[in-house]
Symmetry: C2
Subunit: 77 residues, 2 copies
């Protein structure tokens, strides 16, 4: 199975959700991407359908928006 | 590890998220509760901090609200 991708922006909501997702899915099954720092991956996240962070992109291309930390507009600043 | 609990109300957003979560976590690691039908578990979900469905209650007591299907007020009708 391909990995899921967890997009976040370093906010407290993001960090808490990241820990939960890593615990549930397993660290080896999820790539964690900080799009506040790794800004050249913002376009990729938006193209995948990520509207806010934290969000989990599943291997089958679904986006799970988990709780609510910040909008993509906030991330882009 | 204790199981997670996935609360939903049968909506299309819920069903899609349920399939994703079961695929990611494993069916044996998550109890699926339809609080639209199993209404005597609504109070339990609210006490755990569930504000909308679908939502995943992790074994450590965190609530992950995943996308947005319906508010608890909608579920209670």
């Amino acid at each position: 199975m391909e990995k899921s991708i967890f997009y976040h922006a370093g906010c407290s909501v993001c960090v808490s959700a990241e820990q939960d997702i890593v615990n549930l899915i397993g660290a080896d099954q999820v790539e964690v991407v900080h799009i506040g720092e790794d800004r050249n991956r913002i376009a990729e996240a938006e193209a995948a359908g990520v509207n806010s962070v934290p969000a989990l992109l599943t291997p089958n291309g679904h986006v799970l928006h988990i709780n609510y930390g910040a909008s993509m507009a906030d991330v882009k600043g």
